[in-house]
């Protein structure tokens, strides 16, 4: 089983009390779509600087309102902590009204990471559904910063409508590169959309990668991940080479509160990133 990563430059305080948030200041707010926004955070004190691995998550606290687990959408090599958030609940809706200079509490980083080391020398296939794109962006930053160390790199992204497309500017830039294959699809087209319509799994057979030497990382709704994994298997990718990022209710993020159990696993500390072969039997059980 996976133990807690010890790679974080955490302060002594948060090691003593992982339940105590450290204060971070919002440096920038960026509207992405109608309901999605990006926050850039910097620590109030250097003591609370953190380093993280792509795929890990942070518990973010809004004063008096509550705390939510948020994936990190920024560059692991960067100096700011970046979260891309869809306003869907009380905490994230209040968060969407925060401004530059406001403060939030953060705990973390927690959980397992995407297998970026293991992916070296392999083709890399990233499959994102909706708000599943932000947790995969740090992988893309990592891969592009050392592009020569990887084989073919494919990003497949499905979202609800063209106006829900995240990181549109970056997607255009990535699409323009010759060393990156990017396909985007939407569930429902709007006028002016000339791209793909349909679920993201339909993009898998359109893209070129060598199934025998591919590492695939999939993030999105559970059903989308399950069908993506099945489609990847059909293409010949081994279940050991497919990784999914699971979502469950989380309160403590350190494996003590019991909420995130997924069979015998605690998604917060054994995941959120799991090897598909490790969880595929659980994924097909109802209401696990």
């Amino acid at each position: 089983m996976v133990s807690a990563p010890d790679v974080h430059g955490k302060s002594a305080d948060s090691v003593v009390n992982p339940m105590l948030p450290a204060l971070y200041t919002i440096q920038r707010v960026k509207r992405e779509t109608d309901d999605t926004f990006t926050l850039e955070l910097v620590p109030e004190s250097d003591r609370h600087k953190i380093s993280f691995l792509p795929g890990q998550f942070i518990m973010v606290y809004v004063f008096g309102v509550g705390e939510v687990p948020l994936s990190i959408s920024g560059d692991a090599a960067g100096t700011v902590l970046v979260h891309t958030i869809r306003a869907v609940g009380i905490v994230t809706r209040v968060m969407s009204r925060l401004r530059r200079g406001d403060k939030v509490g953060i705990r973390g980083p927690f959980g397992t990471a995407w297998p970026v080391q293991e992916a070296q020398g392999h083709d890399v296939v990233l499959i994102a559904g909706g708000i599943g794109l932000p947790p995969l962006r740090p992988v893309l930053y990592h891969v592009l910063s050392r592009r020569e160390e990887f084989g073919k790199v494919v990003l497949l992204y499905g979202t609800r409508t063209p106006s829900d497309i995240l990181f549109r500017d970056e997607l255009e830039q990535w699409r323009a590169r010759f060393d990156l294959e990017v396909h985007v699809t939407v569930d429902r087209a709007q006028s002016g959309w000339r791209g793909n319509v349909g679920v993201v799994t339909t993009l898998i057979h359109k893209s070129s990668f060598d199934p025998q030497k591919t590492i695939a990382m999939v993030c999105g709704p559970e059903a989308m991940m399950r069908f993506s994994a099945l489609e990847l298997q059909r293409r010949g990718v081994s279940t050991n080479s497919i990784y999914l990022s699971m979502e469950r209710n989380m309160k403590c993020a350190i494996g003590l509160c019991g909420h995130c159990q997924f069979g015998p696993l605690f998604v917060c500390k054994d995941g959120p990133v799991f090897r598909y072969s490790h969880i595929k039997d659980l994924l097909v059980k109802w209401e696990i």
């Binding site: 397992t112 297998p115 003590l256 209401e287």
Partner: protein, 397 residues
């Protein structure tokens, strides 16, 4: 330590133990009668103990019965367990203040009436810990203190806690610790372990010593090595308790049976009775689930985060955007039972059940964990597929 000869102390020495611990500034907690049940609370003398009371327990039934003798420990476990002291039902994790836009967060900020994670706690001495409950404490030690992240409050309180165990000389009808191998005799983890012996002429205790400090506590009290017949009588009583137990849990292959029974029809049947009231999880001495609640006062200046016991039977427990993962009653009951008896083994290397029977007694409709498991086992065992010994490694540690 526990290999030394058992000692005999008289009834009066129990008061000596309590007062000596109180003089050393321990809060002595033990069983006491409150209303119509035996609960745990601070005690100051033997008269606070349930003198002459035993309890009658059955599915959804708990009654106190007065005995013609002045026994101290003729009862068995009640609705409370010791976890409420080590893992409080409500704990303040931190307070935060906001002043002119400046926010401060700390566990040392002045708090409310609720105990705080950073508060100094007067150490506890638990008197009357039954073997099942002692095993439950050892299991929670693994949960809160055995992993990469630890519960600092639990560890701080636990490290100082005295455990004076009591071996059971009577079983309740809901007890099944003999089958889970967690009782009725305390085997380790105690400072002292007592067996109460009452004969027509005599009322004394056989004491087994588990720690140096336990031995030291007895020094000032009248005691002598127990003779063979006294020791034998105590052993007989405890063995008799084991044979009184009508309920049992067959633990062989329990994990494999349950992992292969996710689609069993029994879940549907039990869901028709289960009220999802969460009583079983509240009274369970090993259940450890908790939620957090963030609050702010009317001025908007002062906020707190409280940790509160939670239950996997609550609908909100598994809520993620879009709905609860386990919305049906059968999924919630299956999760609870499968966690207790199967996935707990993967997580902590032990069963999550110690055979105390509380979940049976305090279930308002009398659902019996041993009966539910037996029904599943009886119809699954014949088709059991041996579990693979090859563990699939999750590679990205």
């Amino acid at each position: 330590m526990s290999t030394t000869t058992p000692l005999r102390i008289e009834l009066s020495a129990i008061d000596g133990i309590i007062s000596s611990l109180r003089q050393q500034h321990y809060t002595v907690v033990g069983p006491t009668v409150r209303g119509a049940s035996i609960v745990l609370d601070e005690i100051s003398s033997t008269s606070d103990l349930p003198v002459g009371w035993m309890c009658e327990q059955a599915p959804a039934r708990y009654r106190l019965i007065k005995l013609p003798v002045d026994s101290l420990f003729a009862h068995t476990v009640g609705p409370h367990s010791w976890k409420q002291y080590l893992f409080p039902p409500i704990l303040r994790l931190f307070s935060a203040n906001r002043n002119d836009g400046e926010i401060r967060i700390g566990d040392g900020l002045p708090g409310s009436d609720v105990p705080g994670a950073g508060d100094a706690v007067r150490p506890y001495a638990f008197l009357g810990v039954r073997s099942c409950d002692l095993h439950a404490i050892l299991i929670q030690d693994k949960i809160f203190g055995g992993g990469p992240y630890q519960d600092a409050y639990y560890r701080r309180v636990r490290e100082q806690t005295w455990i004076i165990a009591v071996n059971c000389t009577l079983a309740s009808a809901t007890c099944f610790c003999a089958s889970t191998k967690t009782g009725p005799k305390a085997s380790s983890g105690y400072d002292l372990a007592l067996t109460e012996v009452i004969t027509e002429q005599d009322h004394y205790f056989i004491v087994e010593v588990g720690t140096e400090r336990g031995l030291k506590l007895l020094e000032g009290l009248n005691h002598r090595p127990a003779n063979e017949s006294e020791t034998a009588r105590a052993a007989e009583l405890v063995e008799g308790t084991a044979s009184q137990m009508a309920r049992s849990l067959e633990t062989e292959n329990i994990r494999e049976v349950l992992y292969q029974s996710a689609d069993h029809t029994r879940w549907e049947a039990v869901a028709k009775r289960c009220l999802t009231c969460a009583n079983c999880t509240m009274v369970c001495p090993t259940c450890f689930c908790a939620t957090v609640e963030d609050t702010v006062d009317l001025t908007g200046m002062r906020a707190e985060r409280l940790r509160k016991w939670d239950s996997c039977f609550n609908m909100d427990f598994s809520y993620i955007h879009g709905g609860s993962v386990r919305s049906s009653v059968k999924a919630r009951y299956r999760h609870w039972l499968t966690h207790k008896l199967a996935s707990w083994i993967d997580q902590f290397g032990t069963l999550g059940c110690v055979g105390c029977g509380r979940c049976i007694t305090w279930c308002p409709v009398g659902i019996d964990i041993t009966e539910e498991y037996r029904a599943i086992r009886d119809t699954t065992l014949t088709n059991l597929v041996p579990s693979s010994t090859e563990e699939v490694e999750n590679g990205n540690a």
